[in-house]
Symmetry: C2
Subunit: 397 residues, 2 copies
């Protein structure tokens, strides 16, 4: 048996790099950027008019000119049109490229037009106003998004803006989620009184979708030969095997012995925690990893969020900053185990995350999981946890 932190360290030591691939930028949301995204031009690419109005030469205004004949009108998307005389102006629209012969934009509210002449009504004009200067945000070839971050809607928009119609992203591991246990039937079936429906593997598959990871599902019956044949194939085809159930002291749990027979090296078995104690972790000589999670739904879900997803994030090169919540009630837990309490998250007016314990029936209470938002990790070596104390949280919504 290992402690939670030991299990975490052993797993994190097995992080992988699955390489990179190119995807169309419209498909890249939620993937991890694997290149520094650079601008192809200055941002803005030209002196961009920021208000509808007229473009003038400030020197003319400074020299006393208040009435500016309109040389031409220039819409956004049109080539810049220069003024014909130094005291002329261009009627110009937001988004247009400022004509080089002008340097200042006056908005419609501040002048009136009569007979093709714009007369300025205010003295409050300053040189260069209402212009978003070329290169003010970024210079050409500057990095606008560094490698190693999740591609957000804003980043996707930026990729479009700089013409990156394809993006290099981190490859995701090939993952199979395997359910075991002859008591399990398909969702569409009506279980016999001593059977239940498969649910863990769907839950795991759904949780991985957030990372754009589309895991395959497989069910293996409680049979040593079938288990061996299927696992042997999976170890060749997948980089990660997530097992739900099948690892315990039971006579019909063939998984540990089969994994050993298939040269999967056990890195630990059992973690000093509740739920999720009978968690088995190992690796094959070819690098494939086996996360054999306890079959109880809450145990499966906790181990997924506490161990697998942080491993995945590390393997993708993502930071995973620690998150905390304020315990919002007293909790007593006597067993010498690190306790992962189901909590609902809220926020008080001080911007503090409140973690309200969920009265559950222990680790077996799948029903509570639907209402809970996170696990609060209560450390080993302490039995009484008091309202107001701060602990790590593992959100799962």
């Amino acid at each position: 048996m290992v402690k939670v932190e030991e299990a975490e360290a052993i797993i994190q030591a097995e992080r992988r790099d699955f390489g990179t691939e190119s995807v169309a930028f419209e498909q890249a949301l939620g993937r991890v950027l694997a290149e520094n995204l650079k601008t192809d031009r200055d941002l803005p690419p030209f002196n961009r008019v920021a208000m509808d109005g007229i473009a003038i030469r400030f020197a003319a205004f400074e020299g006393g000119t208040r009435s500016f004949p309109i040389s031409a009108t220039q819409a956004a998307g049109e080539p810049p049109v220069d003024i014909k005389a130094a005291t002329d102006c261009i009627e110009i629209m937001t988004g247009a490229a400022l004509p080089p012969s002008t340097d200042t934009v006056i908005r419609y509210e501040d002048f009136r037009i009569e007979n093709g002449v714009a007369t300025v009504l205010t003295e409050d004009i300053s040189r260069g106003q209402n212009i978003h200067a070329q290169g003010k945000d970024k210079r050409r070839h500057d990095t606008v998004a560094a490698a190693g971050q999740v591609i957000s809607p804003a980043l996707l928009g930026m990729a479009a803006a700089v013409g990156a119609s394809a993006l290099q992203v981190k490859k995701l591991p090939k993952v199979v989620v395997i359910s075991t246990g002859d008591e399990l039937v398909d969702v569409e079936e009506t279980p016999l009184p001593y059977q239940i429906r498969r649910s863990n593997s769907y839950m795991v598959q759904a949780a991985l979708q957030k990372y754009q990871l589309h895991a395959h599902l497989l069910h293996i019956p409680d049979d040593a030969e079938a288990t061996k044949a299927e696992l042997a194939l999976c170890l060749q085809h997948y980089e990660v095997i997530i097992l739900s159930g099948g690892i315990s002291m039971g006579k019909f749990d063939y998984v540990p012995q089969v994994l050993e027979a298939l040269s999967v090296q056990k890195l630990f078995y059992k973690v000093q925690q509740r739920p999720g104690k009978p968690f088995w972790f190992g690796k094959h000589a070819n690098g494939a990893l086996v996360f054999a999670l306890p079959g109880n739904p809450v145990s499966t879900f906790m181990c997924l969020h506490r161990y697998f997803l942080p491993w995945l994030m590390a393997s993708l090169g993502l930071d995973n900053p620690e998150r905390y919540g304020v315990l919002n009630g007293d909790v007593s837990f006597q067993a010498p185990l690190q306790y992962f309490l189901q909590v609902k998250l809220g926020m008080n007016g001080q911007g503090q995350v409140l973690a309200t314990p969920f009265e559950g029936n222990g680790s077996g209470d799948f029903a509570n999981l639907v209402e809970a938002d996170a696990f609060l990790e209560l450390p080993l070596g302490k039995s009484n946890f008091t309202k107001g104390e701060v602990y790590r949280i593992w959100p799962f919504r």
Copy 2:
């Protein structure tokens, strides 16, 4: 011009109910549940053995029996096997249905087996131990997930467990995101010096994906007739039109006049805020709504998160609790506008959300948006905002 809270109230008053539809549970992640999900059986559906070991009748143990002949072995998924005599036991596995003739489970660690007889090694046995009692979590036909919540991985797992292979979910509105402006070219194109690439509509489309809302994209040139023809069609085909750009005082911004000509009633124009001041909102007689967002990327993004997404959540019947962050730096802002500051979010050891201001170039700085996590909403009527003060945040990652 309206205040932020007025704009919000006007928009929220136009929330809609788009009805419900049935989807396969595997497609339901991220959708809003529109039915109370109920169990079809007790949870657990039987007295579920929670440890591998033996099942005994506690009265026998109480009566002094310590050695229990093994009547049979019962795996998970097998019909329950009764003991042959009151002092016999069944070797039994986790997940199995407890035989009615037994009432207590002893784990392997607490007995040894010799010649088909299990001898208990501890006195620390209590009636009913290691059994997850039938119906302890939920009774048959109890609600396990109430209508009106986002379908999470745990809920999806629960749907599988109770055999809900299809789920009633809230229908999403049909949304089109329209870009306007002749200065815009496609992502694959190389813009002329006075052109830029379309990016806002991709950004908006990506932000809506979080809600499983797959918006269509459309570009309309700066031409009154084309604008009118396209908008007329959109008002028939879509329930929501999100426009990016085209609403300002410029000569070539045909959108407001065209919308009026098409009987779209203006509900407000301009909001006392930065960025996003020239925001136009209206509705058609057929109920279709038009969110005409300012064309600047940051303005578009802010208005989307501050107005459109809360409208969407309300229309789907979702709560949207206010979120707060602690301003992590001093900010001065003089204009009489509600100011939406780009911030990075972090968390301190007290579980408090810290909002660190992002030094930007004002509302035009698209580049910062890629690095920021949220907008911090700094109220009107105040110019100096001090580190440690708490304000509302609008996260967008």
